[in-house]
């Protein structure tokens, strides 16, 4: 076996989760059944800083206040349920370790912006998925199907690899200032999913998707602020993908 950097592993292993620290979580609460106003509420927890923000939210829900409401499922950054605004930045609660976001100060947690808050950290996802559905997010082909698979070179497959990683968590779209100001804008996630098909060599509806995104609420609204790229928990170069779609609209080459 290659000699591991044993110091790091030993440090990891010697730490038996016993180093609890006290952290304040400042959570934006909203429940229209109780009050029309949103309020900040503080919760103090003794927690291992290597735990996830999602673990902290669970600790609050399970030990302190069962009414705290948020979506979550897989808890390791794959399902896209728990995008939220943590210390002012869009992240997945299950992919953010407490130690990485300065637990010495209160950690703020609030719903993502630009979508209607329904309760606490839960927002209405419908406009987000509608924009996704509007870009024809599926393979379109014509002619007879081959009996075996369609052939695609490894290079052609690589061309759109980055945008296949999207988990539709809305972290990008809800970090976009244009989207905040105008809910009509398709938003980065829909464009990413259009990109995934426009640049797939097997697909034949690229022109149609480009026309959809040529609309006044399409790609031209993007102001290239890179918020979306910073926010993406999957490391997708979102702004680059949007630029590639813009370029394809001008050159009609993709």
């Amino acid at each position: 076996m290659a000699t591991p950097t044993m110091d790091k592993l030993e440090a990891l292993e010697a730490d038996n989760g016993s180093h609890l620290i006290t952290v304040t979580f400042r959570v934006r609460r909203f429940n229209p059944e109780v009050s029309a106003d949103a309020v900040w509420e503080d919760f103090q927890l003794a927690i291992d800083p290597k735990e996830r923000v999602l673990d902290a939210l669970h600790k609050i829900k399970w030990e302190l206040d069962g009414s705290l409401t948020f979506r979550r499922s897989c808890a390791h950054g794959i399902c896209g349920s728990d995008a939220m605004r943590i210390n002012g930045k869009n992240r997945l609660a299950c992919k953010t370790l407490i130690k990485d976001i300065n637990p010495e100060k209160p950690i703020t947690v609030e719903a993502i912006k630009g979508l209607t808050v329904l309760k606490d950290l839960v927002v209405d996802m419908e406009p987000f998925f509608q924009a996704y559905r509007d870009v024809m997010p599926f393979l379109v082909t014509t002619g007879n199907e081959p009996t075996r698979e369609r052939l695609q070179s490894a290079e052609d497959r690589e061309r759109f690899d980055d945008t296949t990683k999207c988990i539709l968590c809305a972290a990008c779209t809800s970090s976009c200032p244009v989207f905040w100001n105008d809910g009509q804008y398709f938003g980065p996630a829909a464009i990413v999913n259009a990109h995934r098909f426009i640049f797939d060599s097997r697909d034949e509806a690229g022109e149609q998707r480009l026309e959809i995104l040529n609309d006044k609420d399409g790609v031209w609204r993007c102001r290239t602020t890179f918020n979306c790229t910073d926010a993406c928990p999957r490391g997708i170069e979102v702004t680059k993908a949007i630029q590639e779609v813009k370029r394809a609209l001008i050159t009609r080459r993709f």
Partner: protein, 584 residues
Amino acid sequence: MKIHKYDTVIVGAGGAGMRAAIESTKRSRTAVLTKLYPTRSHTGAAQGGMAAALANVEEDNWEWHTFDTIKGGDYLVDQDAAEILAKEAIDSVLDLEKMGLPFNRTPDGTIDQRRFGGHSRNHGEAPVRRSCYAADRTGHMILQTLYQNCVKEGVEFFNEFYVLDQLIVEVDGVKHSAGVVAFELATGEIHIFQAKAVIYASGGTGKFFKVTSNAHTLTGDGQAACYRRGLPLEDMEFFQFHPTGIWRMGILLTEGARGEGGILRNKDGERFMEKYAPVMKDLASRDVVSRSIYTEIREGRGCGPEGDHVYLDLTHLPPEQLDAKLPDITEFARTYLGIEPYTDPIPIQPTAHYAMGGIPTNVEGEVLSDNTTVVPGLYAAGEVACVSVHGANRLGTNSLLDINVFGRRAGIAAAEYSHKADFVELPENPASLVEETVERLRNSTGTERVAVIRNELQECMDANVMVFRTEQTIKTAVEKIAELRERYKNVSIQDKGKRFNTDLLEAIELGNLLDLAEVMATSALARKESRGGHYREDFPNRDDVNFMRHTMAYREVGDDGSESIRLDYKPVVQTRYQPMERKY
């Protein structure tokens, strides 16, 4: 209360549910109910691939795949079903490619394939490249591709609708499905979905374990809804522990890591799998590898100060290979452990992963109410079901295959049934059980907390019915579960509201987990042999004379309202493969 009428209702929108929906929507008026959003389903967490004998990179055929599946399942597999699985695998993969799935490609542009545990050339000679994959996010790509095609087909979804009850009505002495009762999370409203056909595709039940690769939401809702209404559950004692979960967290690290050449090592750096499986080594079947890991740990060769894990070593693989083939799992190691897989081995331990058992069905996806009788209008597919193609231990890459093959079959069968069948009349007060459950929990002033009971259940299951079991440990579990079920009656919730009441949701989910844990432990206690994922230290050998049969567990309610479990057994379908000793 709202009443909806559909030809076909599908419960769950993961791989099996959406594969079924694509078929049934083309043929019948279909509604898909999910307690999440479709793209949140746990199919998306599957990593390594989907098996099919495409023979794109080396010689292979579906007969070898059938044999591996049967051997992998320790001969508890129904062999007719395994043959269908392996045969239809090829078209299943090609269908997904045509739907747009971006598989990795060979230099010729065909779908690339890699090695996976238990998949072999010519009946066990050597590992074979059979797993079709998209990096280490094959499940993600399947889930996205199926959702994309559901959008294309205009599938009608009811998102965040939680199905709490299965309506069963006896017609001429035969149990029929009349529909389901669902709870709308956003409003707290109860909905009746009357349907000619209902398909369960609601996934597994891994959350009764603590260290698990399963999502928080995998709480056996479909199994519990059917079981409560008197339908049996098959082979629930068989649960798979995946060898490589991230130490303490249980997050899955794909078997594809070993398929790409990764090696398991103990604290002395020894490649210990050579001792246990001389031919397949690190790519032996999952039950074998998980037991080997725990044997190393028990014999003092585990890693770390507490000697409670081993290493998955990828450090000898080129970084470019890790980046191209295993980008997600290497990132998990960086994010959650802070270690660099290029240079450091990854601490791992077995993690509760997959329920081989579930709602019994035949190969058309029709649910059975006993060993042979079909429940007209009721179907199940995917992890919630037990066909049984996985027997006592599922092979890696056979679950993504299962959801596609049997999801498709169930979707077609249910829609075709709805053409010839009439609606079954709803029972009187169809929502009564759900209303009672919801009101009881919402109004309870009990002193027990959901999280406390759930945590005790998970710790009890990890300690007593995991990789190694004995009569003593299983009895301990049975007693503890009985105690927790008593205490659950006294559980209360804090959120009394109607809107997005996830406090209430978690309480209902816990009730399901407790019911299913009891079935699992009771079934395990009665199976006095070791087979696949069920290993009894007090009965270390497979006993084909007494236990070559499926367990069928029924809920019985006495005249005094007392509940008990009745166990029965069902023969295994054997066609061409005689049971042999299983060696890797």
